[in-house]
Amino acid sequence: MKRRLVRAAKRVGLYGAALTFTVFAVFPFYWMFLTAFKQDRDLYVGGTVTTHIPWIFNDPPTLEHVQLLFRQTLYPTWVRNTVWIGGLVVLITLIFALPAGYALARLTGRWGERLGIGIFLTYLIPPTLLFIPFSRVIAVLGLQNSPWALVLVYPTFTIPFCTWLLMGFFRSIPRDIEEQAMIDGYSRLSAMRKVVLPLAISGILTAAIFAFTLVMQDFVYALTFISSVGKMTVSLGIPVALVRGDVFYWGSLMAAALITSVPIAIVYNLFIDRFIAGLTAGAVKG
């Protein structure tokens, strides 16, 4: 009886701890959600008012902030900017990273493995170290306050990242398949195009989506290069430009943050295992 009690207590403790960790991780998102749908009179009640509980909807939820966001702010423009910049960057990234990833996986052998790690490490060179020289490069090219500056700069982190991601994908496709195709008379290039590429399509899609989310996550480069509100991307416009004078539109701001985060979060969850497998680069032996 006593032993069972102890076990039950341990179980409760474990679940309690798990719950605490999860709540800490999720709480800001819950807060975004509450803020996005609360009426103003429910939202802007000072924290000293102990009778008003901020954790719940005290008045019925409203779509007011979301409507304001889409109709009276530049949020739709920022989304459009992000989509076309992101789309172009993905295209550029794939053009460069696909052949490189394939070459690293198949053709350059052990030396290629080193190079693969090297390329991944360049992904770790942070924007913080590069935004100052880049601002000079952008000035020389005359691209100040132009979204094209971002199109040029974003591939500097998406190409290394995707090359390395694609390298992993190509490695997972058995060599035999293309060797068989080559024995059957295909050249290396047509074996690549007709046999390997169709098999790697899920990997290519993963790389494309990840590249797009990396673009969405950038703040530093956008902050450095873009100054016109109409040319901003979502991750710059939302924090910097959803302000009226000195007052933030908190409801709309949190709605925008929530709407922008959810798709990225879903994508990350779909592909995280592959990401971790590559990230730990053999530190985890599977």
Binding site: F21, T22, F29, L43, Y44, P99, A103, P133, V137
Partner: protein, 329 residues
């Protein structure tokens, strides 16, 4: 070199060489010759396929990186394209600047404190999640949210959470009776630092947890079962079996965390703008303020350059972990 023995002039993949050697015993000589030329061409093809990506990276990461170093020795300003060489003057200037020293201290403080907390929390969380669990996939999904969300948006959510008038943190602390007065999170240097560290921990610990969990599931079950059968206690299993085996994985998680925390600009920039009274600036935000807002590219570059040693150490350690895994596996 086995390659030389097989007669291949250029290094090819290790397995390929082994395969070729094995075959060369069985297969007739002409086949070896044909394969060798194919390998040669493949090598050229490999370089051709790699070249564009390498070129892009070299031109747009390597060159700016070199420029970052050069700029730090110049009095370059944005607005003009001149490049006046001033030697070490920028470094003397910032070395004498108390604000720079504070930023250097803050960067170190934020990074070390947050990563220690991340390490402790992540190991604890991973152990808990490993032991309990109904709905682990769901929890893991939720844990990834802080990592996936664009950091600038997360920083805004936290800015709102720590708001000077509407802070839910204060409300809750008051409701449970832990707080009598009011905390102005961004009005007091210590509180502002706590807020910044909280955001960094929040952002990195769930991701580290997921990595450690992945590492745990890779520890062979026999080892742990053997430890349980031999009667090792929970703590003993933790410190003598799990942690040593997890060390490489935890290292990777922490190194990643160090890079992302020490170089982050958005959290400080959006939460406090370096305030109150410039007390929370980090190297990244100070470099931005001096280099971009203040147009003094040279000084900005010099400030940012102080992040380089951290990154070099991280890169070396990363390579070590990777190499060890390579050798061991």
């Amino acid at each position: 070199m086995t390659q030389d023995a097989a007669g291949t002039p250029r290094p090819v993949g290790g397995e390929r060489v082994a395969l070729k050697e094995a075959e060369s015993v069985v297969v007739a000589a002409p086949a070896i010759f044909r394969r060798r030329t194919l390998a040669d061409r493949e090598d050229a093809l490999g370089r051709l396929l790699l070249a564009p990506a390498l070129l892009y990276v070299v031109l747009l990461v390597g060159v700016p990186f070199g420029m970052a170093v050069l700029l730090s020795f110049s009095a370059a300003r944005s607005g003009t394209l001149t490049f006046p060489w001033v030697g070490l003057q920028n470094f003397w200037t910032i070395a004498a600047d108390p604000q720079f020293r504070l930023a250097l201290r803050n960067t170190t403080l934020f990074t070390v404190v947050s990563q220690v907390l991340v390490m402790v929390l992540a190991t604890a969380a991973a152990n808990v999640l490993e032991a309990a669990f109904f709905g682990r996939r769901g929890v893991r999904m939720l844990l990834l949210l802080p990592w996936a969300v664009p950091v600038s948006l997360a920083a805004m959510a936290w800015t709102w959470i720590f708001d000077s008038t509407f802070s839910v943190v204060n409300w809750t602390l008051r409701a449970v009776g832990l707080l009598k007065g009011w905390l102005y999170w961004f009005g007091d240097p210590t509180l502002a630092m706590i807020a910044i560290i909280t955001v960094h921990v929040w952002r990195m610990f769930p991701f580290a947890t997921v990595i450690v969990l992945a590492g745990m599931s890779a520890i062979p079950a026999e080892i742990r079962e053997a430890a349980v059968v031999d009667g090792a206690s929970f703590w003993r299993r933790l410190f003598q079996i799990n942690l040593p085996l997890l060390l490489p994985v935890v290292t990777v998680a922490v190194l990643f965390g160090v890079v992302f925390t020490s170089t982050d600009l958005s959290v400080v920039y959006l939460l406090t703008r370096g305030g109150p009274y410039n007390s929370t600036h980090v190297l990244a935000s100070l470099a931005f303020q001096r280099g971009i807002l203040g147009a003094d590219l040279g000084q900005g570059a010099a400030i940012a350059l102080f992040l380089l040693p951290v990154l070099v150490v991280v890169a070396i350690l990363m390579l070590r972990v990777a190499r060890r895994a390579e050798v061991g596996g």
